[in-house]
Symmetry: C2
Subunit: 330 residues, 2 copies
């Protein structure tokens, strides 16, 4: 990297993009190099922070449309966080859009980088644990194959292959990070099958009821939004030769049961908060969730210095600090 850095975030209006921006506004350095300039890109206008220690420009654009990818790298940003993409539910209901945005958009971005001379940026790509599909035997190891059960996961697996190929050929320095479930996800309850993992913490702490559609014994793996941002920043500054020829990595995560999640909630919100969880089993959700991987070894990522949350208590604490102003009242 040079002595100051231009950072591009695609998908900047999304939850991860906004939190990444906020973190860089607070700590405007990447690997010791000051961030001098930031470009935000999304299909909806990303919000520009009121005050930032660097210049921020914001653009709307869809990388899968002609000319957009070239425009995105016209100023040759030295670090690109490529977060843009259709989410999993929409990808499953609209295959053509999923492939166009998530596969073609990524390939166009990579090709736009390739077409520039004297340009070799760092590219951090957010892949997902959705690249894995059951059956599983125990925790997912780093060399386990990718057999996704969704078009969202397929698109991520395809982009991982492209990233590895372009990185191997020296067009950019790519790092693909497979994010686990992000818990506690801020915001309103949504209809994602995975929504309950967050809502059974978030809603009770906000004085609302939450529905738990699965067994208390279900094991699953989580990273807080704060840990996920840490993964992105670490991926942006990792020494590439440590990665070797396999630049796509499963991120570490906290594995715990629903019962353990609930106990972490109790410590912060007490029995009153826990009482706001209503158990209503949903066999469809149980079936979907049972096809997901529940536990990851993530040995490579740990050895490379990616730092997960310590436990689910810490995940709840991050939520209280980052979203509730430190107060878990209600």
């Amino acid at each position: 990297m040079s002595d100051s850095l231009h950072v591009l975030i695609t998908g900047a209006a999304g939850m991860i993009g906004r939190k990444l921006l906020a973190r860089l506004v607070r700590e405007p350095r990447l690997g010791g190099v000051p961030v001098e300039r930031m470009t935000l890109l999304d299909v909806v206008e990303p919000q520009v922070p009121k005050s930032a220690p660097f210049k921020v420009s914001s653009r709307t654009g869809d990388l899968s449309l002609p000319g957009e990818a070239s425009a995105a790298v016209a100023d040759m940003p030295g670090c690109i966080f490529h977060l843009a993409g259709v989410v999993s539910g929409e990808a499953e209901t609209d295959l053509e859009k999923a492939y166009r945005v998530n596969i073609d958009g990524t390939r166009f971005l990579f090709d736009a980088i390739r077409s520039r001379n004297d340009y070799r940026p760092r590219v951090v790509f957010t892949s997902s644990a959705a690249v894995y599909g059951g059956p599983f035997e125990g925790p997912v190891t780093d060399d386990f194959h990718l057999t996704p059960h969704s078009s969202y996961g397929v698109a991520k697996a395809v982009c991982e292959q492209l990233l590895a190929d372009y990185s191997r050929r020296g067009f950019f320095d790519g790092v693909g990070i497979r994010l686990p479930a992000i818990t506690v996800r801020p915001g309103k309850p949504n209809k994602a099958a995975s929504g309950f993992f967050s809502s059974i913490i978030r809603e009770p702490l906000a004085g609302e009821t939450a529905i738990l559609p699965v067994s208390d014994a279900l094991l699953h793996s989580h990273a807080s939004p704060r840990a996920a941002i840490g993964y992105l920043l670490h991926a942006a500054t990792l020494e590439m030769d440590k990665l070797g020829e396999r630049p796509n990595l499963m991120m570490p995560a906290v594995a715990c049961t629903i019962a353990e999640q609930i106990e972490a909630l109790r410590k912060v919100g007490g029995d009153r908060a826990v009482a706001r969880i209503q158990r209503v089993r949903d066999s469809l959700i149980e079936r979907i969730v049972s096809g997901w991987p529940h536990e990851f070894e993530a040995r490579r990522a740990l050895a490379l210095g990616f730092v997960p949350d310590r436990d689910f208590d810490e995940i709840v604490a991050h939520h209280v600090e980052d979203e509730l102003g430190g107060k878990a009242g209600a």
Copy 2:
């Protein structure tokens, strides 16, 4: 399948395509259903056999060009062997062509199938052991991840993902078979880094010298062209529900050392044939070959009834029968 079958072969002018056609001319049935019609497609005009027990039409066309994929499935062939693609050496020197032909061509074919109503053909796709890249610890298991070291392997891995997704969604019944090294490959010596595996058998049996650029101790895995055709035919008739949600499979292969290959040659061609092998070590070829997987468990494929050659003696015997008219003279 219906009571008679229209078969499409893409890449029909290649070695595997020609052998598949010859086999179906001799045995014009797939899973008990008579082949009524055959369409051959390639970028160079595929040769139509002089006499065949079914109607054969031949077309030139590149699936990655507009309209070609739709034209290829206009008559709704019930079984498609998708063999077309740029070979590994060319893929590495011409990335754009590799992605256009091997990725886009395949995706266009799949989309052309998807766009037809009331159409759900069997699609057999030839993937390759090139989807694997070292380091390896022991034989490659069925759940080992795909980290190719070449753009050829990347394109195969991408197409496997698309095949699995389209198959899961019911657009066709896809089976992807990862072929090992095909040995003994008929024809002239070529410049492929893997060429010596075949040439140390083929050339000595033809009275010519062959160069061995690696150690006699090198272990590698092979399937005869005849076994490979058997894999294709089995994949075309396999019951889909036995495949489950993972339609891409490594094929079984005969693992043996170069020394064992040479002993198999000796049994057929004697010391005179063996003496035609010249040992000239080549560190570049050694380095390339060392990144390839050498041994596969292929448990799923074996359990599903794919039948490999018995041993390397049988591989040599197939070559003598199929290419040398049964005579290993010289």
